[in-house]
Amino acid sequence: MTDTPPDANAADRRLLRTTVNGIARQELVEPRMLLSDFLRRTLHLTGTHVGCAHGVCGCCTVLVDGATARACLTFAVQVQDREVQSVEGLGEDPIAAALRASFHECHALQCGYCTPGFLMAARQLLSETPEPDEETIRVALSGNICRCTGYVNIVRAVRHAADSLAAARDQQQGLSDAR
């Protein structure tokens, strides 16, 4: 019994068909392969980090069918026929873009290890609650651990992103009213 990642030559393998960041994928996987390993080792999408591998730190947060989930607590075979989005797939998403700019501006990361998970969790929050107060932000991010920042700047960055998205919405509203 070793702690090596699931072996591609192992006996019981399944054909996994899934969509990751909009791209259809087909791979042979062992049932015990975690989604975090599938993303990082099979697909080389290393933006999904693994901090604890038992659900506590939130570094590995991805979207499964649009809802945040721990990649370290999901088996790859469980995303059969589902859509997975990792931090690499946020691309042009406007909420993610606002968050990236705000994290930069507010200095919301130092080593950056936790950042992909925070971006996923914060994006989920702002897509459901566009104008959260500080308490709401803190509760929504309570499942993500950051060992560097002390959280103050992360909370500020999320608030800043919410404000800039609101300003953009107002401007758009203004334009369409003027038309």
């Binding site: 015990r32 390993d37 038992h54 659900g55 809802a67 370290c72």
Partner: protein
């Protein structure tokens, strides 16, 4: 930090899951949300021979309301329960407990039945189920039995589910208008497992049911405190009230197997439970009187 090998059986329906359970050995487990089982597997503290994965069982994914009960199938996610308007309106304490049950990302996958079947001493929902008088629907191939929540929890991570059986659903009696409730807990980080907590259900007929969690291996009813609750002064947190609550709690905890860990001693757990009880009772009273006013 990777799980040992296991046989993975994706089930498409409850009947298929029960057939698979019957055909597998005793070390087979149900895989629901995986939010407690997979950490244990990653740490190799659990090495099930097979997992019967119920995530594809659409027939277990329903929240049904009928005959004064709201029933949650085994695949209903914690987040689905917490956001359901029926649950928020008629089982507000269940919605509140689900909100405290981990973080959004764990609640998107973790199930309502999973937290009951796992029976972590620090979990909120088992205590809420006992306080509200919920019933467990246990099924095996060709048989079904109903077990009241109070008889279901046997100890830390221990329930009366037998090999070959699964928790197919849980049902809660819809709370009458004018029912009050209070749920208070404390822990190391918000929305994580509690060090101590208490659930109070106050029915209009003057019946109060109180259940503590996090302080004993299984959720613990507090009959002395329940009996005292009715004639506690309405004013709430005075030192006299606080002393009476602590006294009743001490009577209920006499001889109990209190949890004593590095994070919180047994003495601390008992003291903080008295404070939490005062808070939860005050909340329950206030909600009961608000309900009367409307």
């Amino acid at each position: 930090m990777r799980p040992a090998s296991f046989r993975h059986h994706p089930a498409r329906s409850v009947d298929e899951a029960l057939t698979l359970l019957a055909s597998e050995d005793e070390d087979a487990r149900i895989l629901a949300g995986g939010q407690s089982l997979v950490p244990l597997m990653n740490l190799r503290m659990a090495q099930p021979s097979a997992l019967i994965d119920i995530n594809g069982c659409d027939d277990l994914g329903r929240i049904d309301e009928a005959g004064g009960w709201i029933e949650f199938g085994a695949r209903v996610r914690q987040r689905e329960g917490e956001l359901s308007t029926a649950v928020r309106a008629r089982l507000p304490m269940v919605a509140a407990a689900l909100e405290l049950n981990g973080h959004p990302a764990t609640r998107h996958r973790g199930t309502i039945c999973g937290t009951l079947a796992h029976a972590d001493p620090s979990a909120e929902l088992p205590a809420v189920a006992v306080a509200l008088g919920a019933e467990m629907v246990l099924r095996r191939q060709g048989a079904c039995r109903i077990v009241p929540a109070e008889a279901f929890f046997l100890g830390a991570l221990e329930t009366c589910i037998e090999p070959g059986e699964m928790l197919a659903a849980v049902r809660f009696p819809v709370q009458p208008a004018r029912a009050g409730w209070g749920l208070a807990e404390t822990g190391l980080r918000r929305h994580d497992l509690a060090l101590a907590g208490i659930a109070v259900a106050m029915l209009p007929a003057g019946v109060t049911r109180i259940c503590a969690f996090g302080i004993t291996p299984e959720p613990l009813r507090l009959p002395t405190l329940e009996a005292a609750a009715d004639d506690l002064p309405r004013s709430g947190g005075t030192p006299a009230t606080q002393a009476r609550i602590a006294e009743a709690l001490a009577a209920d905890l006499e001889g109990a197997d209190l949890v004593d860990t590095l994070h919180a001693s047994a003495r601390y757990r008992q003291q903080v439970t008295a404070t939490l009880a005062a808070r939860a009772l005050a909340d329950a009273r206030q909600r009961a009187s608000q309900e009367t006013a409307t």
